[in-house]
Amino acid sequence: MSASTTPDLLVQDRPAALRRLLARPELGSLIAAVAVFAVFAAAAEPFLRVSSLGTVLYAASTIGIMAVPVSLLMIGGEFDLSAGVLVTTAALTSSMVSYQFTAVTWVGVLVSLATTLAVGWFNGWMLGRTKLPSFIVTLGTFLMLTGANLGVTKAVSGTVSTKSIADMQGFETCRLLFASEVNIGGLTVKATVWWWLGLLAVGSWVLLRTRFGNWVFAVGGDASAARAVGVPVARTKTVLYLGVGFGAWVLGQHLLFSFDTVQSGEGVGNELIYIVAAVIGGCLITGGYGSVVGSALGALIFGMASKGIIYAQWNPDWFKFFLGAMLLLAALLNAYVKRRAERGPR
């Protein structure tokens, strides 16, 4: 009765826009990343050198490449425990196909892509068909891939690591694509960094600007509501798993072409690091909320913390302790910033 005309209606634009900015899921992680950087810049003199920056960026990129599709998958409400070993599978396949058939390495690279996509598709298909939780499905894939990595490698090569393919045709061009490095004013930027940035841009654009991205949010937020309004839930999730397969392929090729040989037992445990990066970056573990850029910040935080402790020469026995504490503090700061932002500018 009295409130029919409020004069401040006109200024409501600004707070809303500001709030929209503040409510972005990545704001908190950005501030957390800056804080972690500040800590190590103060604690470790070598941390600020250009060459160290390259090392940290490289470490972050090898996590970040996978964190992009993994965060998309988590926004879509699912896990992938097989992501870590799938990277090794990608590298092994590529290496063994090239070597055994004495083919140009590109053949191996493409067969590897087909393999990782097939595994991704299998995960998505199992999920859709069986309605089992993705935790169990991808745990099964994880164990089976771990076993197959070892079993196939031993059966084919006779040892647990592959033979070197450095002298094969196509190796150099592949290396250029996946494992080269450029020097920009003293800063060594590895190829993975470019891949990371590229995936980041594409992933973020897809998530925020396309119909498919809308579906990703929806299937993660409430799959049955999404289904009710006509979103193809199973298909969306399968595509997300294909994305993880693609990421694993890129990283796997990097491993192969920068290290020549591949150990069949590696990659186990990395799946958790990818999830950690996504969660520190603001993804909800239950799905429906998060951002791709955040996952990149999460990867950066993880990369900075794990290498920063080395640069700072803190007692190596306590390495994991410091790492855990840094991650927890980063997550706390992130949450604090987000809550402040939501409460609004009072």
Partner: protein, 314 residues
């Protein structure tokens, strides 16, 4: 007091009054040496390596930095981080062979002398390392195999506690090549002792003809002994590497023999040789690999070893 007990720390203190603390006795500037290994966290073997290195570093007035990661790409990043820190010398394990080529090239380009330790002898010279200090895993395996053969073990079970670990595979296959009789491999989870114990028990139950269990580390030997006990059969346990329980086992006869590669020596010599190189351009053996093993230890050595093992340096 009511809570007091026998044994424990007081006993230890009584046993060993003091170990003379030697300060550094050299006049060289304070150099910085980094060691980057492929060890998992909390591994007793690598702890001995570190102890040796730290001891030598203290003696040689060296700042010693240690880092480790079991995954290839991470170990490479750690080496890179050491280069970023502009260390004066680098000790690296080459378990992953080729993967280290690039980053060691960078170390050379940065003028950092490198000595490789433990595994990867065949790559050492290729990657421009000054020398290699360690034990060839295949040779160690073969030594174990020969010892098994001479003891007349006919059906051996080799327990790998880290699936896909090259060094462990080499030890087993080396042993297999010289052991003669039947030879099998079992993979167990090295971070879950009850599970490993049950797995070895299961294997012994499944195949009653197994007469020897060959483990690849000190702690795993202890678990293997438990499993052998569970089996209620006359199965002999042999092992690579040492540990308090292994020595106790050697003494009591439950462990047949242990193949040692003197990890302490690998760390100690690594740092010391780097110091010698930097201060006097010395290189032991002219750069040929320095072997620290394999050394076969049996009941006869047990008594002498006990003290050093308890100290964590053997």
């Amino acid at each position: 007091a009511g809570c007091s007990s026998t044994g424990g720390r007081r006993a230890e203190e009584a046993r060993a009054k003091a170990v003379a603390a030697g300060g550094s006795a050299v006049t060289t500037p304070r150099w910085k040496v980094a060691m980057v290994t492929h060890a998992g966290p909390g591994d007793a073997f690598w702890d001995s390596v570190r102890k040796g290195a730290e001891q030598a570093a203290a003696k040689d007035n060296i700042t010693f930095l240690y880092s480790n990661d079991a995954q290839t790409q991470n170990q490479v990043q750690l080496v890179q981080a050491a280069i970023d820190q502009k260390v004066d010398g680098l000790l690296v394990t080459l378990a992953k062979g080729d993967a280290m080529a690039d980053v060691l090239g960078k170390a050379r380009a940065a003028g950092i002398p490198v000595i490789t330790i433990n595994s990867g002898q065949e790559f050492s010279a290729k990657f421009g390392a000054l020398t290699h200090i360690g034990q060839d895993e295949s040779a160690a395996g073969q030594a174990a195999g020969a010892e098994l053969a001479s003891r007349g073990r006919r059906n051996v079970l080799c327990v790998i506690h880290e699936q896909g670990n090259v060094g462990q595979e080499e030890r087993c296959s080396g042993a297999q090549s010289k052991a003669g009789g039947s030879f099998q491999v079992l993979y167990v989870n090295g971070t879950d002792m009850p599970d490993a114990r049950a797995a070895i028990s299961a294997k012994l139950q499944a195949d009653p003809s197994i007469d020897t269990v060959l483990t690849l580390s000190g702690p795993m030997a202890a678990t293997g002994m438990q499993a052998v006990q569970d089996a209620h059969r006359g199965v002999e346990l042999d092992t690579f590497d040492l540990g308090p329980q292994v020595v106790a086992g050697l003494k009591s006869g439950t462990v047949g023999f242990a193949v040692d590669q003197q990890p302490y020596l690998q760390g100690y010599e690594g740092v010391d040789l780097l110091w010698l190189y930097k201060s006097n351009l010395d290189m032991l053996g002219g750069g040929k690999p320095v072997a620290t093993g394999p050394q076969i230890l049996t009941k006869d050595n047990a008594d002498a070893l006990a003290e050093y093992v308890a100290r964590g340096t053997r």
